[in-house]
Structures are given as C-alpha cells and as structure tokens.
C-alpha cells in the first residue's frame, strides 16, 4: 500500500512538473532590466507588473498572454509583485494561464523595486511598460487596466521603433 502511494505520489509530481513550463525567478528590478536589454534589436517588449490578488491585473492578464502568443515580434515579460509567501499561488496562476519561459517575482523592498522599474510609477497595480524593438528604449507606460485596442496600438509602436 505504501509503495503504491509512493508511486502514485511520484507520478503526480512528475506530471505536475511536466505541466509547469514556466521558470519563476525571484529577483530585483536591476536583474529584470538586464534581462529586458537582451531583446534590443530582436523584439519589442511588454513588461507587465501584476499580482494574483489584484483584480484588475487578473482581468487583463489572459488578454496580455494571448497578445504575446499572437504577435511574433513581441516578448511579454510578467513581473509578479505578490508577497514572497505567495510563490505557490503565483506559479499555479502562471501555469493555469499557460505562461511559458521566464517569469519574475520581486524579492526587493517596494521603494527600490518601484523606482528601479520606472521612476514615475506610483506603485499602483497593474503597471505596464513597452520597450522599442529597435531602440530598446522605454516608449510608453501606464498604471491600471487598459483595453486591448490600447495595448495593440502601443505594441505596434514598440515594434516599429
């Protein structure tokens, strides 16, 4: 019986890890900025800071995931601002939303995290920034939830610049 339970447990773990295609990295704003600089000349970047407990964040989240899947010249980078005791919840949500690749969760104090992401950000969630494909520069940013059409317009500009 014990062996059966062990085998069942192991199979569940293997199945779970096989389903998890996201690499969730706990880090600071400096490392995130360094990661973003890799896309200069390759892709436009949409950076979205969100949290599982933030209602407007999870309302727009599936739309952002789908834009990332649809638009080839775009890299979507999610940064979770959840508390560090919410790691499991964040990972489950990312898996549920079928987010793949690298994703981040902040492990820095609020003040330096906010300033490190964008000096003009007040700290209100969600927060979105677009970086140009050619220039790699920050082109557009906004606080709060936005419409798909506004996202598409900003993405187009980021791809062209």
């Amino acid at each position: 019986m014990r062996l059966l339970l062990f085998v069942l447990g192991l199979s569940f773990l293997l199945l779970f890890s096989a389903c998890s295609n996201v690499d969730l990295i706990a880090t600071d704003s400096k490392t995130i900025q360094e990661h973003l600089s890799n896309y200069k000349g390759e892709k436009a970047v949409l950076l979205n800071v969100w949290a599982t407990s933030c209602a407007p964040c999870v309302e727009e989240f599936p739309m952002i995931v789908s834009l990332g899947n649809e638009i080839k010249g775009l890299e979507v980078v999610f940064v979770s601002a959840d508390f560090d005791d919410q790691l499991g919840k964040v990972k489950s949500y990312l898996n549920e939303q079928k987010v793949t690749g690298v994703s981040f969760i902040k492990n820095e104090n609020d003040q330096s995290f906010i300033s490190g992401i964008h000096p003009e950000w007040s700290g209100s969630l969600p927060f979105t920034i677009f970086y140009g494909k050619i220039s790699g520069k920050m082109l557009i940013f906004w606080e709060g939830k936005e419409s798909e059409s506004k996202f598409r317009e900003a993405i187009q500009r980021a791809i062209n610049e």
Binding site: C54, D110, Q111, S122, G123, S124, G144
Partner: protein, 194 residues
C-alpha cells in the same frame, strides 16, 4: 489673482497630478459618508497639530497587511493632536465589497479607532492625485502637505520594519523638525474610480 489660482488648481485636478509637498489640503468641505452613519469632512477630521489622510479600502491585500499599523498610529498620535481619517474612494465598488455596511464590518473587525468614510465620486482621490490603497498624506497644523507615500518599508510584518517613514514624519512634524524623506513609494491596489 485668486481666480488665476483657482483655475490653476482646477487644471491640476483635471490632469490628475499628485498633490505636491507644501500644497493646501484640497476639498476640505467635501461631504464623506462615515461609518458612524453621519457625514464627515476633512475639516471635521483635522487635528490641532496635523492631519493624516489614508486612502484605503476593505479588500486590498496591501491594506490588509498594513492596517494593524493604522490602529497603532491612531493610538500613538491622536492624543498628540494628529487628526486621522481613512477614506474609501473605490466608488466603482460602493455597491459591493466597499459598501458602507461592509466598511462598518471591516472597521469593527480590525479595531478601527478613527473615522472611515466613503468618498462619493472619488472626488477626494482625484483632488489628491491618489492612485492606490493604502496611500498616505500628512498635513501640518496649517493644512499644508508635509509627507506623502507609504506607512513604512514592510507591509507584511510590522515587527520587521526597518524605516517607519510615516511615524518618523509625524514625530518630526510634532517636534518642529524637517521631515526626511517627504515622499516615499510602496505597492498598492489601484483605486477603483467610477
């Protein structure tokens, strides 16, 4: 001159910029619906030594982690002449989780010992340029803004706070000393405007 000033103030409200240090407390007579069942204004809530305005709500996880400190701040500073009020500007949710009934319950469950009032039309939040909860504004005895931003640097754990920004600011205000820093930032839930 007064007309020019009011036009300029109006423009600031329209473009939604955040109140700057030194600004006068706006909309002091805007009627807010308090959990006591009576209306209250910032003019009613103000203290002799200064006034603390906290934009807050019932459900935001950052509020929930930080609000134990609301009560401590009120206990410490109300006897020293600091008036305090928590303002709920989530007008889009006054019909649901931020209803007055829910606010009464929330205040009771968390031992609020200060007014907690709804801001009809989110007018105060707009005038202050407040974007999130919690979002803190401290005014001096002359109703001029002297500190804005965060309560401290650790929402999650009051015992692990390294810099209690707001308490330091109030202490400096009461001692007649310069406040440093005058502005800080913290994460929070966006205010749900109508």
């Amino acid at each position: 001159m007064k007309i020019i000033l009011s036009i300029m103030t109006g423009i600031t409200f329209l473009i939604g910029g955040e109140l700057e240090i030194g600004s006068a407390m706006p909309l002091m007579d805007h009627q807010l619906a308090d959990i006591s069942g009576k209306n209250i204004t910032l003019a009613n809530a103000k203290g002799d030594a200064g006034t603390l305005v906290i934009f807050s709500c019932n459900t935001c996880p950052w509020v929930i982690r930080w609000e134990d400190r609301y009560v401590t701040l009120a206990n410490t500073y109300a006897p020293k002449g600091i008036g305090m009020i928590a303002v709920n500007s989530n007008a889009a949710r006054f019909g649901s989780e931020d209803s007055l009934e829910e606010m009464v319950e929330h205040a009771k469950n968390n031992g609020y010992n200060f007014p907690y009032a709804q801001d009809p039309g989110s007018k105060l939040a707009t005038a202050f340029g407040a974007t999130k909860t919690p979002h803190i504004y401290l005014f001096n005895a002359d109703d001029k803004l002297v500190y804005l931003g965060a309560i401290d640097d650790n929402a999650k754990n009051a015992k692990k706070v390294e810099v209690p920004f707001l308490a330091n600011a109030i202490d400096a205000l009461l001692a007649g000393k310069p406040i440093n820093p005058q502005a800080t930032k913290a994460l929070g839930c966006s205010i749900k405007f109508n």
